[in-house]
């Protein structure tokens, strides 16, 4: 009796395995994997980017005459989970290309694995230069932080008329540390003075001690290139403490929860960003915005737009390569010139970083509004 039951279970398991392996073996679809932070500290990015990828998929659901199948894995905003997610996409799902992650630290954890497997990956929004450095198969759809930090410093000095700045850095994030460095370098070069540098950590909620220290140094602006949750809480506490100087930040803060959490405190906060729907210039961009707003019932955001670009870049490269071979797709990606993406014209360089323009946005009346475009 025992034995027969054991055999029955074995047969069932075998059957389940066989059927599970079935669709994967049949080559009637092309799989593209996405690993994104759908939960955790930066979940808003993952959810915006997944929205963008879905719309892009709807606009271009086929390549090389086959249907594209999307596979999503949640990284829980965590570096280790990100690395595991890429392993799963590469080994179990056998994807031909990867989109992700949303933030630099996690992408740097995932990239070595796709690199070893020779599967090209395109991160929508990882802006730290190290993300693609020394990697053949790592790409991104966004500009990189040296450019972003430089533009922020120029904007602070020329437009905000700042002579002194306080820098508040999230020490736990590669992105924040890197971007702050590039800002400081350019700001000092242009004659500005950094009067205080303080540190916070992802997940911190109380910044009153750091802010009181900043207040004592009387800066003209605060540069806080951190993610949205920390920046929103920080802005709120700064305003409560009576610090009313402009706050300038990077692309990582431009997410809706910033406004929901920060409320009035984040009014007039400035961002160096990737995209604003008012600045959309390409047909693909306009079509995307129309579809996005119809389907999702909200305004098209930068993270979704860049994720869509990551998808379009991958699909375009597969099309041009005429194959799903990783190395061929990689070579096609490198050769993409003046590709009219959602967020603007993209020219991919050999090093995996695109050349593209930047926008400056700010918060006004509880909305992200467009200020200006800056070309490289």
């Amino acid at each position: 009796m025992q034995r027969r039951r054991f055999l029955a279970v074995l047969a069932l398991v075998g059957f389940a395995l066989a059927t599970a392996a079935g669709p994967a073996a049949a080559q009637d679809t092309i799989k593209i994997g996405a690993y994104l932070p759908m939960t955790g500290a930066v979940a808003a990015y993952g959810q915006m980017e997944w929205d963008g990828i879905q719309i892009a998929h709807e606009m271009k659901p086929e390549v090389l005459g086959k249907k594209i199948e999307l596979v999503l894995v949640d990284t829980k905003s965590d570096k280790i989970e990100a690395a595991n997610a890429v392993s799963r996409l590469v080994e179990k799902e056998k994807v031909v290309g990867i989109i992700g992650e949303a933030i630099s630290g996690n992408t740097m954890a995932g990239n070595p694995i796709s690199e070893a497997a020779k599967i090209p990956s395109v991160s929508p929004t990882a802006t730290n230069p190290l993300v693609t450095q020394g990697k053949k198969y790592a790409f991104r759809a966004c500009f990189i932080d040296p450019f972003q930090g430089e533009v922020a410093a120029r904007f602070a000095i020329n437009e905000l008329k700042a002579k002194t700045a306080a820098v508040i850095i999230d020490i736990a994030q590669d992105y924040c540390v890197g971007l702050a460095n590039f800002f400081v370098k350019e700001f000092v070069k242009l004659g500005g003075k950094v009067v205080s540098t303080t540190y916070i950590q992802t997940g911190d909620q109380d910044f009153s001690a750091q802010l009181s220290a900043v207040q004592a140094t009387n800066p003209d602006i605060i540069y806080a290139p951190n993610y949205y949750t920390e920046d929103a809480l920080m802005a709120k506490q700064a305003r409560d403490l009576g610090i009313n100087v402009p706050i300038l930040t990077g692309d990582g803060a431009q997410a809706d929860p910033l406004i929901e959490i920060g409320g009035k405190a984040v009014e007039e906060m400035y961002f160096t960003g990737h995209f604003h729907k008012e600045a959309a210039s390409t047909d693909l961009g306009k079509e995307y915005i129309k579809r996005f707003e119809e389907k999702k019932g909200k305004e098209a955001d930068a993270f979704g737009a860049l994720a869509a670009d990551a998808y379009f870049l991958l699909v375009e490269a597969i099309e041009k390569a005429g194959s799903t071979d990783g190395t061929k797709i990689r070579d096609a990606l490198v050769g993409l010139q003046n590709f009219p993406g959602v967020s603007g014209i993209i020219t991919m360089q050999e090093n995996g970083n695109p050349i593209k323009s930047m926008v400056i946005n700010k918060v006004k009346d509880g909305k992200f509004v467009y200020v200006t475009t800056i070309n490289p």
């Binding site: 759908m38 939960t39 955790g40 979940a43 808003a44 959810q47 020490i171 736990a172 205080s196 303080t198 540190y199 916070i200 950590q201 997940g203 911190d204 909620q205 109380d206 009153s208 001690a209 750091q210 009181s212 220290a213 207040q215 004592a216 949750t229 929103a232 809480l233 709120k236 409560d240 403490l241 009576g242 929860p257 929901e260 959490i261 920060g262 409320g263």
Partner: protein
Amino acid sequence: MTTTIFFQQLTNGISLGSLYALVAIGYTMVYGILRLINFAHGDLLMVAAYTAIYAVTMFTLPWYLSFPLAIALTGCIGILLDRVAYKPLRDAPRISLLISAIGASFLLENLALVIIGGVPKGFPRPDIFAKVIEILGVRIQVLTIYIPLMTLVFLMALLYIVYRTKVGKAMRAASKDIETTRLMGINVDRIIALTFLMGSSLAAAGGIMWAMKYPQVNPFMGVIPGLKAFIAAVLGGIGNIIGAVVGGFALGLGEILLVAFFPQLAQYRDAFAFVILILVLLFRPTGIMGEPITDKT
């Protein structure tokens, strides 16, 4: 550092410390009666904050109705938690209870994650709590005054209940020896349920205050406050209610003053708190105000 900045930092420290204290009272109370470290205590903060948000935004209740409602509901969830996760293990080894508590904590967090999602929400802070007053250049949020006051009121109420009422006597008896207390004809399960009701309501009050001060509500918002309150409770002497308040203020002030005097060490704030925990456990496991280890076996 100027005097104004110093006093500003002192205010910041008291404000943070009183929040730790508020959460720590409930933590320590449950421990005092049951000798159970209720790891789900921090997650009850989160439950209360979400309940308050939904009461205000979905049912458009005014804050003075929705906050008590959130506190009451969280209190009931506390009782439920006891019934489901702890009561069946009353006679089991203490380690099983501890593991059950960790499980309950994960369950609450992940339930919230599935039901509500991981994107943080703001908190509808009523205007009367948002005011800022300025005294001699030191800016004080009115919340910073209300929270310590509230902590003190709860502390008094709790001390009264535990030391001056019959129910309190039963609680103290149960903390000494559950079996004998039961033999004396006291309904121990009811006393324990009441303990959880009070402890969880305190967590809820702490959660609402926390969310008003740091308005980003997400399924994991209770983890760090829970840990910090635990440290505060241990620092003050776990099981001792006054000790929890003292420990909370000490920890809050310590964290803020560390950053104030050594801005370069700001990123080691949490490390500082945990180092304190380790030191206390090593050199004075009974904390500042704890009684010497008793005969409780």
